[in-house]
Symmetry: C2
Subunit: 152 residues, 2 copies
DNA sequence: ACTCTCCGTGGACGCCATCGACCTGAGCCT
DNA sequence: AGGCTCAGGTCGATGGCGTCCACGGAGAGT
């Protein structure tokens, strides 16, 4: 993980479809060298994948909610995690410090679907209670913060 | 936005570096047709960009926090938004229903940096108070939920 | 029926991805 | 010091891909 790797990561975080040739020009190496470096970043797990960033409303996911979950005392967090993992609406899942053990970001199409999701969550073994906050609008999301040296 | 567009979006959400040729094979069109469709999805704003999904710890961003912000009565939300937007640590920003007008997801390297961020936030005009919850671990994040027809 | 438009196909051409062979410098052992 | 070894780079070649263009068919409107 040297400065060139950081630059590559930065470049790919801002545009994952850059060609190896273009990456090579940006960092001052040859295309095969960049190809090998990116391959290593992928297989070492630094780069987990490449995602298109899609306007959620356009694909029928206009409702965003953040849901805190309080666990039953004595509940098994791992079992709960498995129950949460199978719910596709839960896009993100954080294990938190505080009363609420988990915080979920969920995305659904309608308020009715959100209601169903909350009901399902409250029925899940180990869940003592949930607290839902609805996002009225998303100002921005997953903005990549530059981390490398300032653009080489 | 027909079924083929949805498939393309799904494919690109799970792997943004698929070639047009490969996309074409998956959806049963020719490469130029796919090229044009994806171009339209981009220029119409359905596809906002392509991001590499990077392990945050690997780039020195090991601390994730969620911060709720209560606004001063009479504060101008737009001015506040501009103040928030310039803070690179704030990866996501939602305008919420409830007492806390904004919910931020911030990522920093150390607890000390988080402290600085919180201090800065509390000094920002229009901010009445903040409430910070620290994520002990991220179980998963930005998992794309399939939305199209089941894989054609 | 004619035509306009949209959206696709097929062909062509230059660039890119990717492989293999070779080069160079750092570190280390004898 | 000399030389081995390995990591990590460049260079060159080739097959596939991206992308431009001209062309064609289906459906709607007049």
């Amino acid at each position: 993980m040297d400065a060139i790797d950081l630059s590559l990561v930065d470049l790919l975080r801002s545009n994952a479809r850059l060609s190896y040739a273009e990456l090579a020009r940006q960092v001052g190496l040859s295309a095969p060298a960049v190809h090998e470096r990116v391959g290593k970043l992928e297989s070492s797990g630094v780069v987990r994948g490449y995602r298109a960033d899609v306007e959620p409303e356009a694909i029928g996911l206009g409702v965003t909610a953040l849901i805190g979950i309080v666990e039953d005392s004595g509940a098994d967090s791992d079992d709960m995690l498995e129950s949460l993992r199978v719910l596709p609406e839960i896009e993100s899942c954080y294990f938190m410090a505080g009363v609420e053990s988990f915080l979920l970001k969920a995305r659904v199409g309608t308020i009715a679907e959100l209601e169903q999701l909350i009901v399902r969550l409250n029925r899940t073994p180990g869940v003592a209670s949930t607290r839902t906050a609805i996002a009225l609008s998303t100002k921005w999301e997953n903005r990549p913060q530059p981390v490398g040296p300032s653009p080489a």
